[in-house]
Every structure is written in structure tokens, then in C-alpha cells.
Symmetry: C2
Subunit: 405 residues, 2 copies
């Protein structure tokens, strides 16, 4: 007998029919002898509807009240899932984030979990009930309702799994798992049966849409095995687990793509200490999250600094750069939206020379120019023209043998 946390996303509880399907699945899991804790998101587009309604009322949205508003969504889905469970003979009780003891800091809209006190969830389990917990929400140390930000329901599920010592945290969604590339870009993409946390973090960080980086990080830190799977087909999906040193690892597991970023270039910068520090301090103070950074070592007295930011942060980034421009003596500040990033990810890369070369050769053979490069021990990312991204992913997928047998 195992303890499973089963998290259902917005599409998985998107209609009365989907909610009944979820209840059936939970009932089957129970019939197989397991204990289950359910975590739910708001139904389908309900959260977006609430945001639209708030915009109709006023343009200014106090963060505390937005949290109060948005948490209505999970409240509705958790009550409905709990009723659907009763209807199939499974006793359950729903709990808000607050009732489930999810204590957060006071940062509304993107609160961080400070402490888990899931006493009522434990009691419900001990009483033979299925606790149904609202994802995405908690209660602050000031007793105000908070939300955990994007991907917050996954974080709730992982945090509960960690606090309860669950055997696995199952993330049910509308895809059947994590793929070797985005199947919309590469039709021959294969589902991965098993990948490591490190690989999944790189995938999430470079454009994978299935899981947010934050919940994967949380799961890794708390040693919670994840199983990403479909609530439409219910077939086994992708396990995300600790790296097993006895297993041979795929050299490259997945190719990811991301066209959500802009490139910002500060050129003609004097090549002296403190320039980069001044620039990135200004960006940090402006709340801009910088992703890739490239600075060429310079044979001359001047150099260029290029970095990528989310397109939504582009204007703030340009303003910050222009503020710092006179101080560091840069010549120009410019940006480019028409870029995309292609990344190859694989834990086996660490012990396999030649991966970088094969990536560059593949892109070059297809006349795809590389504008920026950045690497980690298990990832290589290249920035290319946006209109070349899909093509690049396809060629790399084939070159690294991911197209399948």
C-alpha cells in the first residue's frame, strides 16, 4: 500500500464530465489499496475569467484582493471533485490551502511556502478519507489568503507529498508525459519514460511547457518522485526521479525550444572591471529576470554584452540599460525580438565528448546561424533566428537519434 498525491490541472477538472472521470480514477486507485491525497487547480479557464472580470471593474488590482478573488477557483473545483467522489462511494473532505496548513510569506500573487502543517490532511487520511486540497493557495503569517504564482498547484502537490512522505506525486495534465521535443514542433517526438530531476529542470528552464522549473526544484530538494501523466488516457507517463548512477544515461534526452525571449545588446562597452556588475545590478533592481548572458572577451578596449530576457521584460530591460549607459560609457543599447533558443539536454552529456560539435555541425549543415551560446554540464543552448527554431529542433532531434526506432 502506497500513499499517492494526485494533482489534477485545469483541463483535468475542466467540466462536469472530466470531474467525474477524475473521481473514477481516484476510486480505482483506492480500490487498488492505496491512500490518495488529491490536489486540484481551478476549472479550465475560470481563473482567466476572474481576471477579466477584475479588469472590467477597475484597472488597479490590489494584490491581496486579487489573491482573495483567484482562490475562489480552486474552492469550486475541490468541492465538486469531493462531491463526485461521494457519488462513486469514496468518502472525502476538501481543504483550502489555509485548512491544509500551507503557511506562506506575505508576498501576494507569488507567495513562497514557509512551512507545511498539514495536520487536518493527516487526520483525514487516518480517518480513511481522501483529502481534496486546493492547489495554488496558502495563508500568510499575517493570516491573509495568498497564492503561489504560476505553476502554484504543482508546488502545492509537491510540498504536500514531501510533508506527508508520499511515495509519489502524480501530476495529471492534458498531455501524456514529457517528450523528447515539443510534439507540435517535432511530430516524431517520443515520450520519455524516465528522466532525472536535473534534466527536467533544464527542460523546464529552456522552454518545456509541462512542468514549471519551480516545482521540479522543490521536488528534487525534497526527494519527491514525480510522475507526469494524462487524465484523458490515464496511461503511464514520464517519471522524474533522482539520477541513478548505476544506470546508463541517454546522451541527449530532449530538445527544447523557446521563442518567448528577446535579446538585448549593450555594445561598445569599455572592457574594464565593474561594468557588468553595474549593468546587472541595475537590471536586478528593476526586477528584470535575465536568462542567458554572453560577453565576448575582447582583443580591443571595448566589448559587447548580450543577454536575453522575457519579451514582457524587454522595455524594462532597455530602460535599465539606458540608465546605466552614461555611467559605464557604452556606445549603444538595442534589442531584437526575432530570436529563439534551441537547447539539447542530457545527463549523459557530462561523459560524452563530441556533443557540442555535433550540435554545431548539425545547425551549420542546415545554414542556421548561431548568435549566442550558453552551456551547463547537461545542456547546450543556442540562440538562432526565430523563424529557424522549428527547423533547428527537427534537425537536432534526428541528429541525436531521438526520432525513435
Amino acid at each position: 500500500m502506497a500513499l499517492l498525491v494526485q494533482k489534477f490541472g485545469g483541463t483535468s477538472v475542466g467540466s462536469a464530465e472530466r470531474i467525474r472521470a477524475v473521481a473514477d480514477h481516484v476510486a480505482k486507485t483506492r480500490a487498488a489499496g492505496h491512500d490518495v491525497v488529491v490536489v486540484v487547480s481551478a476549472m479550465g479557464q475560470f481563473t482567466d475569467d476572474l481576471i477579466r472580470l477584475a479588469e472590467e471593474v477597475t484597472a488597479t488590482h490590489t494584490a491581496r484582493e486579487m489573491d482573495m478573488l483567484l482562490t475562489a477557483g480552486e474552492r469550486i473545483s475541490m468541492a465538486l471533485v469531493s462531491m463526485a467522489l461521494s457519488a462513486v462511494g469514496v468518502e472525502s473532505a476538501s481543504f483550502t490551502g489555509s485548512q491544509a496548513g500551507i503557511i506562506t510569506d506575505t508576498t501576494h500573487r507569488r507567495a513562497k511556502i514557509l512551512e507545511m502543517r498539514p495536520d487536518r490532511v493527516r487526520e483525514a487520511l487516518a480517518d480513511g478519507l481522501v483529502p481534496v486540497v486546493a492547489g495554488f493557495q496558502g495563508v500568510s503569517t499575517e493570516r491573509d489568503i495568498t497564492t503561489l504564482g504560476r505553476g502554484g498547484s504543482d508546488v502545492t502537490a509537491v510540498a504536500l507529498a514531501a510533508a506527508l512522505g508520499a511515495d509519489v506525486c502524480e501530476i495529471y495534465t492534458d498531455v501524456t508525459g514529457v517528450f523528447s521535443a515539443d510534439p507540435r514542433v517535432v511530430p516524431s517526438a517520443q515520450r520519455l519514460n524516465r528522466i532525472s530531476f536535473d534534466e527536467m529542470m533544464e527542460i523546464a528552464a529552456t522552454g518545456g511547457r509541462v512542468l514549471m522549473l519551480r516545482s521540479v526544484e522543490f521536488a528534487r530538494r525534497h526527494h519527491v518522485d514525480l510522475h507526469v501523466r494524462s487524465s484523458f488516457t490515464w496511461e503511464p507517463g514520464t517519471w522524474i526521479v533522482e539520477e541513478d548512477p548505476t544506470m546508463e544515461e541517454a546522451i541527449v534526452s530532449a530538445i527544447t525550444d523557446d521563442t518567448s525571449e528577446s535579446k538585448v545588446t549593450v555594445s561598445g562597452v569599455p572592457d574594464r572591471p565593474g561594468v557588468a556588475a553595474a549593468l546587472f545590478r541595475e537590471l536586478a533592481d528593476a526586477g528584470v529576470n535575465v536568462d542567458m548572458i554572453v560577453q565576448n572577451t575582447s582583443a580591443h578596449a571595448v566589448t559587447d554584452i548580450t543577454f536575453t530576457v522575457a519579451k514582457t521584460d524587454r522595455e524594462a530591460a532597455l530602460e535599465a540599460c539606458r540608465r546605466v549607459q552614461p555611467r559605464v560609457g557604452a556606445e549603444t543599447v538595442s534589442s531584437d525580438d526575432d530570436i529563439g533558443r534551441v537547447s539539447i539536454i542530457g545527463a549523459g552529456m557530462k561523459s560524452s565528448p563530441g556533443v557540442t560539435a555535433l550540435m554545431f555541425e548539425t545547425l551549420s549543415a542546415h545554414d542556421i546561424n548561431i548568435e549566442m551560446i550558453s552551456t551547463s554540464s547537461i545542456r547546450i543552448s543556442c540562440v538562432v533566428r526565430a523563424n529557424k527554431v522549428a527547423e533547428a529542433v527537427g534537425h537536432l532531434h534526428r541528429a541525436f537519434g531521438l526520432d525513435g526506432p
Copy 2:
């Protein structure tokens, strides 16, 4: 400077535009130097939508989960009202029933308030904020979310007004006050500027739709003056206050009508002690709320017992009567849906003989047959054929001089 509790019903917060109008009104009240606590219902038909959604999911609705579901409605409207207040420069903070310290018993769907601990509401007032409190909801002594049943938001407002020692509890709705009759039935009906709690309780109990009996009772017990008024015209409405013995009272203030009930007759009952007790115990145990009861004193050995119940309780009432029928030796049990009740209400009735006679004469003059009569010290009710109700109300309204100058 006064402290006002302002309660806004479903139509008053039914759209983004109505919510902005509410915020403007609260801002004006503040600008006039008053402190305000806002209590809100769910938007328009939102609660009904949630109930429909629950019915789509399953036919069985656990009461605890229905409460969890339905309380999402006020959560949405309170957050939106609070944001609208920010937009017009009024600082506010929203509170759920639980956060506002509304402690109830554990009866889901129609919980009773056991205790008010509105510490956070008081703190918010002391900090110069407008607290915006969710109506209709509380938290039980078992820490579960509860709802207060029909008219629950009014109860929340009155209970808060009592606990905070507010000067008045304003109930904003889609009508401009309490009328001398239902304006849809009697177009010449006049708005009452001021009536006593006793009169309002009789009006609520006999078909008045503006306030529920329960909140009026609560207000009377806790000496909270009520002011029922419109959130569309914002004009002064009807004050419901303690009876002022120095004022001359209207003999008849209002005529009410109610066609929501059925008449049940148990006939041929032996006229001996214990029969009525056995019958009404059985009805009480079946959860049937009996309204009017008439038993004729009998010159013979048998008598008839007739009572009215809500049409929705008719079947349960008939079953209860049939269960008890052999035991008490009654001849027949029957019911009649085509009845209606007409009532005249007035605190001045106590000291004015002739009111009963005028009522009966008026009905008789228009060939309206009286099937049942029941009276209190300030009310006379007659059951007549359902299709005669509107006509009866009109004639009585005129006969008692309520048509206005």
C-alpha cells in the same frame, strides 16, 4: 460621525458597473465622515450557476462540500468590491466569514451563528480601512466552512452591526424599500418610511419578499436599526426600528400576499385530547414546517384539522399525515394547492376595534370566500382561492386607506 454597516445583495453587485456604483456610494458615505463596514452577497445568479454545476457533476451533494462550493461566490464579489474601492481612493480589506470571526454551529447549509469575534474587522476600522466582509458564510466550531442559509447575507450584516455597535444596518437591494403591498400586485402601493420590527416580522412571515424573517428577528433582538433601500436610485428607503410608544401608529401598514403554500386537511378526526399532538409531532419529525393551523371546535364527536405548508413540503406533509392516520382514527387526508393567503398588518390594530370586521366585509363585498383565518395581535390572515389573491389585496389596500392621497 456614525458607524454604518452597508449590505449589498446579489443584484447590487451583479456586474462590474454595479460594483463600481457600490464603491462610489461607499466613498461618498466615507466623505460624509462616517465609518463603513461593507457586507456583500455573491454576484447576481452566480450561486445558482454553482448549484447547476454541482448538479451536472452528481446528484448527491454532501452538505459540507456544497458550503465549500457556494462560499466561492462572496469571495469573488468581496474581492472585486474591495478593488473597486481602491480605484476610488478608499483603502479597504476583504474578509471571509471565517476571517471576520463569524463562528457558527456545525449544521451545514443553514448554520446558526454561535458567536461573533470580529477582531480583524475592528482592527481594520481602527486602521482607517473599510472592511469588506463576505455575507452568508462562517466557520464552524469544527473549523469547517459553513453557510447561513437563505437570507444569510442579511444575517451576517445584522450580526456584524450588533457586534460592532453600529448605528444602523443598511440593506441595499433592487427595490426602494418596504411597500404597503407588493407593487407588482397593487400598482398604487406606497413606500413605508418607517415601520416597527413587529410589523416587519409579520410582513416577512406572510409573504413580504424584501427581508427574511430571520434577519428581522435578529435585528430586533439585538436592537439594530435597519434601513432597507435601493442601490440603483440610492434614495432613502424604509427604516425598521423599535416601536416608539409616543408615536401614533398606522392602524394597518401593509397588505401582504403569499401563494407559495398548500393547504392540507385531515378530516373526520375524533375530537379527543392527543390527536393534534400526535399529528404535529409526526410532522415535526418529518422536518415539515407548518404555518397556519385551524381546528374547528366541534359540536359533534369528530372535527377537521387544516394547516398550511410550503408547496415544496406538501408531499412530506401528506406522508406524515397518512402515517399517523390509522393511529388517530382520521377519515381522510387531502391537500389543495390552489390557495393563497392575504394578510393585513399594523401595529395600531391592537388599539383599534373594527379592523377584523372591515377586512371580512371587504372580502365579502367582492364575493371572495374566506377558507381559513388566523390572527396575531398585529396581523389578520385569510386563506382564499389562489386566483382571488391579487384582487383581495387590491380591495383591502383601498379599504384601509393605503392607496395614498
